[in-house]
């Protein structure tokens, strides 16, 4: 693997996480429990589109085959998507969505906090801008985790169930492969070993405040880095890519 190939893959991973999460949050449009939350979740979705766009554009440039951000978003099959499995899981109920957003945005907060010091100027710039957004996503989600956890018996049960079910998808967030190793040597990629304890400590603190139990680390799901996904990603792509597949080059 060359540095160029590693960087291409690294960018796809970041871009795909943003794009697929954005898709899932968009599904709440007109369906959230209250209007204000509807706006909040779809706002976050737009933040994520704004993150996916420059990163996928940069991935295309790095690849050097003339592919644009749109080509990468709408013309890749699921085996060529490298997002974490956590991003593609169905929304479930509101507690499930909140728990996913909390686990993921807390990860992103520490990830982009490190990436803003990357030796790669483009990634560093995207990270610095993204950090402000994910800090808000994390705060908003953590407040909901506490509200639901320390709320009624029903809300406590639902958010605990959600955290329990999602926990096995959190190990993958910190996985590293050849691409990470190569880029870490050049001070481009984030040292995952460094952010993992920070993530764990923040997550545990919030869960404790919410009177929730932090699940024990058991079996962890894996696959996203290799393009091996749950059955849910294919359904997302079939809907998201329909127009470009049916009417290639369509513009409006």
């Amino acid at each position: 693997m060359t540095e160029q190939q590693a960087l291409y893959k690294y960018c796809l991973r970041i871009g795909d996480d943003a794009l697929i999460q954005s898709y899932r949050l968009s599904e709440w449009c007109s369906n959230a429990p209250m209007l204000e939350e509807d706006l909040a979740l779809t706002n976050f979705a737009l933040d994520m589109i704004g993150r996916a766009q420059p990163v996928l554009t940069y991935a295309g440039k790095t690849e050097g085959k003339g592919r644009t951000d749109d080509d990468l978003a709408y013309r890749r099959g699921e085996r060529d998507y490298f997002n974490h499995l956590l991003a593609e899981l169905p929304n479930g109920d509101f507690a499930y969505t909140v728990a996913r957003l909390f686990l993921m945005s807390t990860f992103e907060y520490f990830f982009f906090g490190e990436l803003q010091h990357s030796a790669d100027a483009t990634l560093a710039a995207v990270a610095a801008k993204t950090l402000k957004e994910v800090k808000y996503h994390m705060t908003h989600a953590a407040d909901w985790v506490v509200r639901l956890g320390d709320g009624t018996a029903e809300s406590h049960y639902r958010i605990q169930q959600a955290v329990n079910e999602l926990w096995m998808y959190t190990g993958e967030l910190f996985e590293t492969d050849e691409a990470d190793a190569l880029l870490e040597d050049k001070n481009i990629a984030v040292d995952m070993g460094r952010i993992r304890p920070e993530w764990k400590s923040r997550v545990t603190n919030v869960l404790t405040e919410a009177t929730l139990a932090t699940p024990a680390d058991g079996y962890m799901q894996t696959g996203g880095h290799k393009g091996i996904h749950t059955e849910h990603l294919g359904h997302i792509l079939s809907e998201m890519q329909y127009l470009q597949r049916a009417y290639p080059e369509a513009t409006w």
Binding site: M34, L35, E36, E37, L39, A40, N43, T139, H140, D143, R147
Partner: protein, 96 residues
């Protein structure tokens, strides 16, 4: 009218730039101060409208009663002499 089942309402006031007056932007639903502030942020600042937000519980606002309009506001209608229009601007004063 159906009762509002979506938490308490809060009035939102926004400042467009530092030093400017806070202007009423609308209202949001929320169960607590933090949520009210976040909901106000998400509802009213998406297009760069503001740099600072106040949220106030709607029931903390005391409003004038429409029935009192005559007593409250009509007396001001015929007091032209209260307007500063009749004063001559001092020479050289630009910022009055």
């Amino acid at each position: 009218m159906a009762t509002d089942s979506q938490l308490d309402t809060w009035e939102v006031f926004m400042q467009s730039k530092p030093g400017a007056n806070y202007i009423h932007a609308g209202s949001v639903h929320a169960s607590d101060k933090k949520m009210a502030l976040q909901n106000a942020r998400d509802t009213y600042t998406r297009r760069g409208e503001g740099t600072s937000i106040w949220v106030v519980p709607s029931d903390a606002i005391v409003a004038s009663n429409p029935d009192d309009s005559d007593m409250f506001f009509d007396p001001a209608d015929d007091k032209m002499y209260r307007l500063p229009t009749f004063y001559v601007m001092p020479e050289g004063a630009k910022a009055i």
